[in-house]
């Protein structure tokens, strides 16, 4: 098959781009570190300045890994949702996952003021933020799942997910209204998204969640491909639709939920990367799409992260803004050029 040959070159190319952006993201920042010293530090050697080793290993490497994992993971969950709902507008957050996470964090930060400051101060460690947002998205997920078992139509599930999202967003608004400026600021900062706050312990948890999520996704590849023809066809080809839907939603929640818990809500990547990937990959087969989308998501997030650090300056921009600022024009340009949205 000549197709498989092309895919091999394609993945080789994508891997090299991933490697380059990975190294660039570590090398550039407030203190630019020469590429040679980055590589020396990564392999345990001693760079010219010993501070560089510390910066690379304790700050920039975890950040770059988080960027790769979150970009790839969000992109894959976007792909899963778009195929499950056969809707090009679907993304990882259509099921209300990010609103659930926001609610959890809002309850923690903003609710602290309402329930008393001493209690709140005790809770506001970085870990409690992760737990709160994971708990929030998990609750919304449970609600969506229980609906999934009652409602058959995926479009209805999609709308119900959006409704859950609205309700949680409304609760967050009410909480914000009754909060003081300081707490509000803290919440807004969380919602900007950040890649830099994940420790090595956190990365271990993130890696486990994403590995499990990707493994489950792999087992749904056949169902995903069959769903490209619609639910009735998928069933007629021997796919257990309820079971497949269940696992696809579990995989998405694991991916998007765990990532949001650690990095805050990162918009755009999940929705746009599958579309970007479809523009240059001439296949609808998820066996090819899934790894391609994961790697593209990782590359895009590394680039966004590099830009967000504003190399050679002391400023860092919120990652959530950068993903949209870079990504949206790219998608618009591609769509205008090709004139149609492939799905």
């Amino acid at each position: 098959m000549e197709n498989q040959q092309t895919y091999r070159y394609f993945f080789l190319l994508l891997t090299s781009i991933l490697l380059i952006t990975f190294l660039a993201s570590i090398s550039l920042g407030t203190v630019p570190i020469p590429l040679k010293d980055v590589i020396i530090s990564l392999f345990g050697g001693e760079p010219i300045k010993s501070a560089w080793k510390f910066i690379v290993l304790e700050y920039r490497l975890p950040k770059a890994i988080t960027a790769m994992l979150s970009g790839g993971g969000l992109a894959v969950s976007g792909l899963l949702m778009q195929t499950l709902f056969r809707n090009p507008l679907a993304g990882p957050f259509v099921l209300g996952l990010s609103s659930g996470a926001s609610l959890g964090v809002a309850l923690l930060i903003l609710g602290a003021g309402i329930f008393g400051a001493s209690f709140g101060g005790f809770l506001l460690g970085s870990w409690s933020l992760v737990i709160a947002s994971a708990f929030g998205s998990f609750l919304v997920l449970l609600a969506v799942l229980s609906v999934t078992f009652k409602v058959k139509d995926t479009m209805t599930i999609l709308i119900i997910g959006l409704m859950f999202g609205s309700v949680t967003a409304a609760v967050v608004s009410v909480l914000s209204y009754f909060s003081n400026a300081e707490q509000l600021q803290q919440f807004v900062f969380w919602s900007f998204g950040t890649l830099g706050n994940v420790s090595w312990d956190g990365i271990l948890i993130l890696v486990s969640c994403i590995t499990i999520g990707l493994l489950i996704s792999m087992f749904t590849i056949k169902a995903l491909n069959a769903l490209l023809l619609g639910e009735n066809y998928a069933k007629s080809m021997g796919i257990n639709l309820k079971l497949a839907t269940f696992w696809i939603i579990i995989a998405t929640s694991l991916l998007a939920g765990s990532i949001t818990a650690f990095t805050g809500p990162i918009a755009f990547v999940g929705l746009a990367v599958p579309h970007l990937t479809r523009q240059y990959i001439n296949s609808s087969n998820h066996m090819v799409l899934l790894p391609a989308v994961f790697m593209s998501g990782a590359v895009l997030m590394l680039i966004c992260d590099t830009v967000a650090q504003l190399p050679f300056s002391e400023l860092t921009l919120p990652i959530n803004a950068i993903t949209s600022l870079i990504g949206a024009p790219v998608v618009i340009w591609l769509l205008v050029r090709k004139r149609k949205l492939f799905f």
Binding site: R86, K222, N225, L229, M237
Partner: protein, 264 residues
């Protein structure tokens, strides 16, 4: 299994079709009986909304069987697992594929799903079967095209190729001739008859092309509100069931020409 030779591929006895609502079921049509044999092309005709699609969807297990008995190779439809059923019966529905980006080759390959491994790798045998089906339906030159680039007639042939690849003894098609010009309508029906005879398949399809269906089908199911007729086309014409199919003030059925004539 070898105790008695299988004559009937499908046996439907006194079946009611319709929808399950919350507490009660809404019956569209009752008392449907027919049976099919290997190598038979059977058409389903009747007015709009009489329940042709519902019958096909009930046979495909997309919609519930409300009453009666349905046997597939002497075993009740309900007893088949989803996967086993997929190796026995394939469908061509009226709904277009959800993805427009999918290529013809990819779409047709999906038909191998009941036979491939957990991740869907195609073996050489699978590739052979896919190629053969593309040749049979004259779609091999479309293999690398995207579905969005196909004409209605081409897409219909591709969907038939996908059903063939599924390698089932029964194929159901819901209105395969809709949206096609007269040449393609005839082409599709001829193709179906060839496949039924050469590949020993039972092919059941619904259509509004009663004239063509009379010419091409081995047997026909004529659905009217009062009764369901099932027989060979010639006998059905003699029985006069086509006369009652439509209100007689607009069209009438001509026995000699075996077709409907517009009343002046």
């Amino acid at each position: 299994m070898s105790t008695k030779p299988l004559k009937n591929t499908i046996e439907v006895k006194n079946v009611s079709i319709g929808y399950n609502k919350k507490k009660h079921s809404q019956i569209v049509l009752e008392d449907i009986s027919f049976s099919s044999e290997k190598g038979e092309l059977i058409s389903i005709v009747g007015t709009n909304g009489i329940g042709k699609s519902t019958l096909l969807k009930t046979l495909a297990r997309i919609q519930p069987q409300l009453q009666g008995e349905m046997l597939l190779k002497n075993k009740a439809f309900k007893e088949y697992s989803t996967l086993d059923f997929a190796t026995q019966l394939s469908v061509v529905l009226t709904e277009p594929p959800s993805s427009k980006n999918i290529t013809v080759k990819e779409l047709v390959s999906l038909g191998r799903h009941p036979y491939t491994n957990w991740i869907g790798i195609l073996t050489e045998v699978d590739e052979e079967i896919i190629k053969e089906s593309l040749l049979d339906t004259d779609t091999i030159n479309l293999a690398e095209k995207k579905c969005s680039e196909l004409s209605d007639g081409q897409l219909q042939r591709v969907m038939i190729a996908r059903a063939l690849v599924q390698n089932t003894s029964i194929i159901l098609l819901d209105e395969p001739t809709t949206h096609l010009d007269i040449y393609h309508r005839a082409y599709i029906l001829k193709l179906l008859k060839d496949l039924a005879i050469k590949k020993k398949k039972t092919i059941i399809f619904s259509t509004h092309e009663i004239d063509l269906a009379i010419q091409v089908s081995h047997k026909m199911i004529v659905m009217t509100k009062e009764k369901i007729y099932f027989d060979k086309p010639d006998k059905l014409i003699k029985s006069g069931c086509f006369e009652n199919l439509f209100p007689s003030e607009t069209i009438r059925f001509d026995h000699e020409l075996k077709q409907f004539i517009l009343k002046k």
